[in-house]
């Protein structure tokens, strides 16, 4: 029994030491050494530019040792950026406006991705093949699936409904993760879905059709998501923030002008099937932020009641 006891204690100690492997916060950099930077991203097509930029060396050439950490959503990324665990994060515009209105010390540094601005967009409001709904105005009183409630999907879809002359306040939203939306639409559990790629392809494959491109209806060339950081980092290391912003601008411009390479890199950090990647509609990746569209979204969000205080867009944007 003594032998078993010792063995048990030994194994426990071994397992405990195995724990102390990963570190969470990067160590402060020494002069001459590249800065260790962690960026929180969501593993979707929108972030292809930063992956592409890392591959092309735009970050390492500016002394940035980049680590990209996938997370499930803005709700997980924002706290990590505020507490300093991530230096930068990726989140959609409405989440950032909401965060700022509660007093969180965030500042946008770079553009993330935009709508294509034309009817064929990377996101769409879609219905089943045999649905009687033909226009967003018909959605009054119906149920639309949104992946997150009280966020950019609601704002955009309501904008579509308003544009088509319908009653925007009468649309009901139900929360459903994107992956589960095509099947729910097919089974008739929701009347319409607002999906992004690659799920747009999935709905099309099962015969669904598009009734609106809500990101286009919300504002021209809508900025959908942005990269941001905390005020602390800007105060502590403004040079790093500047270098990161420049690297991002270069990455965005590169991805926008090299769509085939963007498609290739999407296959490395997602599990989207290659034949689907070839058919995807890619977002636009302009290097500059479309400030006007951010202001429009802020107004729409206030009108819909998502924002209780008017947002200070100029304080949020660089």
């Amino acid at each position: 029994m003594r032998r078993n006891l010792t063995a048990l204690l030994f194994v426990t100690a071994l397992l405990s030491t195995a724990a102390c492997g990963g570190s969470t916060t990067p160590a402060p950099s020494q002069p001459g050494q590249p800065d260790k930077v962690t960026v929180g991203v969501i593993p979707i097509l929108d972030v292809a530019p930063i992956y592409l930029g890392e591959q092309q060396g735009f970050f390492s050439s500016r002394d940035i040792d980049l680590t990209l950490t996938p997370a499930q959503g803005g709700a997980a990324i924002v706290p990590a950026v505020v507490s300093g665990q991530y230096q930068f994060g990726f989140s959609n515009v409405i989440s950032l406006l909401l965060a700022q209105s509660t007093g969180l010390p965030l500042k946008v540094v770079s553009n993330g991705n935009n709508s294509t601005g034309v009817d064929e967009d990377f996101a769409a409001l879609m219905v089943k093949a045999d649905s009687p709904i033909t226009s967003p105005a018909d959605l009054a009183g119906k149920t639309v699936a949104a992946n997150t409630l009280k966020n950019i999907v609601e704002t955009s879809v309501r904008a579509s409904v308003r544009k088509a002359g319908g009653d925007a306040a009468a649309v009901r939203f139900t929360e459903l993760p994107f992956p589960d939306q095509p099947a729910a639409l097919e089974a008739g559990r929701v009347d319409a879905v607002f999906v992004v790629e690659p799920f747009q392809q999935a709905v099309l494959a099962q015969g669904g059709r598009k009734i609106a491109s809500s990101y286009v209806d919300a504002a021209p060339n809508l900025a959908v998501a942005l990269y941001f950081t905390s005020q602390q980092l800007i105060a502590a290391n403004p040079d790093l923030v500047r270098r990161f912003t420049e690297a991002m601008k270069e990455s965005l411009a590169y991805a926008d002008s090299h769509p085939d390479e963007a498609r290739a890199i999407i296959g490395t950090y997602t599990q989207i099937a290659p034949e689907v990647i070839a058919k995807l509609t890619l977002p636009k990746w302009p290097a500059e932020i479309n400030r006007e569209s951010v202001r429009t979204l802020a107004d729409l969000a206030t009108e819909d009641g998502l924002l209780t205080k008017p947002a200070d867009v100029d304080a949020l944007l660089p």
């Binding site: 803005g74 709700a75 966020n151 929360e175 589960d180 099947a183 729910a184 559990r189």
Partner: protein, 257 residues
């Protein structure tokens, strides 16, 4: 000090000390994500004692109750059948062990496919997790029926329904109650998980929405409420257990002396 007073002090002392420590440690906190306890308690009152109690909390509890009851019925029925038949047990055991190991949030998308996004799905999620402790403990309980009692039943020709009620179920009931106890804590967890995904109302849903909307003191108050709920349910369970298993506790106490 009288014995009752002493006992009351012991019960209250440590929690009171911890709460006080939390109060003072967080009093001056400016950290957005760790608000002062005073703000959390203020948010608790205004968030939960209003229409939300009826709109969110009660439906969640109702789904929990329904799912739990179904899990008990299914678990005990299947457990008794499996426990009594060694062949059935040998056939089903690997499949059950496998299904048990799949974490509930992974099952949610599958259940959404089968049962949609309404109350049925949420109740099914609760059942799918709660049934395992009940089932496995019932099987163990039925297997460990005392041999002497079984032989006595056989000599007195007690068969069928009577044997099931008086021998099998009664012998297995302490073990079944153990399983039911574990199933209760799992049930609360699953109630929250089932509302984190495709939901539009409910306790878990509300807490997650607070988190996503950066309403942090309200979120903390929701976590507190879940804790209180867990405690309340476990107290209720203990009262029910005392009545149902009174005979068993008595026998054990006598045996231990």
């Amino acid at each position: 000090m009288t014995a009752a007073l002493r006992r009351a002090t012991l019960v209250v002392a440590l929690p009171a000390a911890l709460l006080t420590a939390w109060w003072f440690a967080s009093a001056g906190s400016t950290d957005f994500y760790r608000p002062p306890l005073s703000r959390i308690l203020a948010a608790f009152g205004e968030t939960w004692f209003g229409p939300r109690l009826v709109d969110d909390v009660l439906p969640s509890l109702a789904r929990l109750g329904l799912g739990y009851a179904m899990a008990l019925v299914i678990g005990v029925t299947l457990g008794v059948a499996t426990g009594l038949s060694p062949r059935l047990r040998a056939t089903l055991e690997p499949v059950l062990e496998f299904l048990r190991a799949v974490p509930p949030p992974v099952l949610v998308p599958i259940l959404i496919l089968v049962a949609g996004i309404g109350n049925t799905m949420k109740v099914l999620v609760i059942v799918s997790g709660c049934v395992w402790p009940v089932l496995l403990n019932t099987v163990e309980g039925v297997r460990n029926v005392d041999g002497v009692l079984a032989d006595t039943c056989r000599s007195y020709r007690i068969r069928g329904q009577a044997r099931l009620r008086h021998l099998v179920l009664r012998s297995a009931s302490p073990q079944i109650v153990t399983g039911a106890r574990q199933a209760l804590s799992i049930g609360i967890i699953l109630m929250v998980i089932s509302e984190m995904f495709a939901a539009s109302s409910g306790l878990g849903f509300t807490i997650v929405q607070f988190q996503r909307g950066f309403a942090i003191p309200e979120m903390w108050s929701g976590v507190l409420l879940l804790g209180l709920l867990g405690v309340a349910l476990s107290v209720v369970f203990r009262v029910v257990e005392h009545r149902v298993l009174g005979w068993y506790h008595g026998i054990r106490a006598v045996q231990r002396q």
